[in-house]
């Protein structure tokens, strides 16, 4: 477990039972239905999933409207708890949309029960180590200061 504060924290509640939301992340047919921006497509024959600690999830993302783009997603799963947790590193290579350079990013997705059969998803993401430097400083603090700074710069 990375003790450093993640740079990105997203929490969202879905009106669906926890096992179903977990399946949406771990079954290729489900992932193909929702991953990425509208207009992308995940060729089913290029999806390889082996969901377990030490396992992987791999797929390719294509964009029919932009045939020059082709993104390869390789997820190394470090920690997996059935119905509860996915933790690992996403390696993104290929030709990426939006000017992104290839990168890798550590992530953690937690699935929590909410009342009335709903599920709360907690997503955490860490910037690549080569981007963040050797600091132990909390990034939440860094970015709240950065936000304030950007506001004052724009003013």
């Amino acid at each position: 477990m990375d003790t450093e504060t993640p740079q990105l924290v997203i929490s969202r509640v879905f009106d669906a039972p926890r096992q179903l939301v977990y399946r949406a992340f771990t079954d290729p047919d489900h992932v193909a239905a929702w991953w990425g921006p509208i207009g992308d497509s995940l060729p089913r024959d290029e999806m390889e999933f082996d969901v377990r600690p030490g396992g992987y999830q791999r797929w390719t993302e294509v964009f029919p409207a932009q045939p020059d783009l082709r993104v390869h997603i390789h997820i190394d799963l470090t920690d997996v708890a059935d119905g509860e947790l996915l933790d690992g590193v996403i390696h993104v290579t290929g030709r990426l949309p939006g000017g992104f350079e290839p990168f890798e990013t550590r992530f953690r997705v937690e699935f929590h029960d909410e009342p009335d059969g709903r599920t709360r998803l907690e997503i955490r993401q860490w910037l690549p180590a080569h981007l963040t430097g050797p600091s132990e400083q909390g990034w939440t603090e860094a970015f709240s200061k950065l936000d304030a700074l950007l506001t004052s710069v724009e003013a």
Partner: protein, 118 residues
């Protein structure tokens, strides 16, 4: 975005609290190393080293005005850094909205199948 190396230098420079504080000072006005040393409990050479790191990351520029060497905040790399985070926030927002619709659709389909069985 001006490339991974630039961004790497920016994040590395921003990781230090004193350097962030220096940037916050420079957000108000351009300043000399003497003016920047005053608010901090560190030596002028230490402040100079921080300024050098910030300059190499492109976060500040330094100009000479007579005998004074002024440091000025350069906002563009800060925007690049914030932009990296923001892109991911948007990525997840779009994907999770699609996921929400997908979950609703398959549950509706399951309910339909179920009711037909009865």
């Amino acid at each position: 975005m001006s490339g991974t190396d630039q961004l790497s230098a920016v994040f590395s420079a921003l990781a230090d609290p004193t350097r962030r504080a220096i940037l916050a000072e420079l957000a108000d006005r351009d300043a000399t190393v003497t003016e920047l040393t005053a608010p901090f409990q560190i030596s002028m050479p230490a402040v100079s080293r921080h300024l050098k790191t910030l300059e190499q990351a492109g976060l500040i520029s330094r100009t000479r005005s007579g005998k004074l060497r002024m440091s000025r905040l350069e906002a563009a790399p800060l925007h690049d850094a914030a932009d990296w985070i923001e892109r991911f926030r948007r990525f997840w927002d779009t994907s999770l909205t699609r996921l929400d619709a997908h979950l609703a659709a398959i549950q509706a389909a399951e309910r339909t199948t179920h009711s037909k069985e009865h």
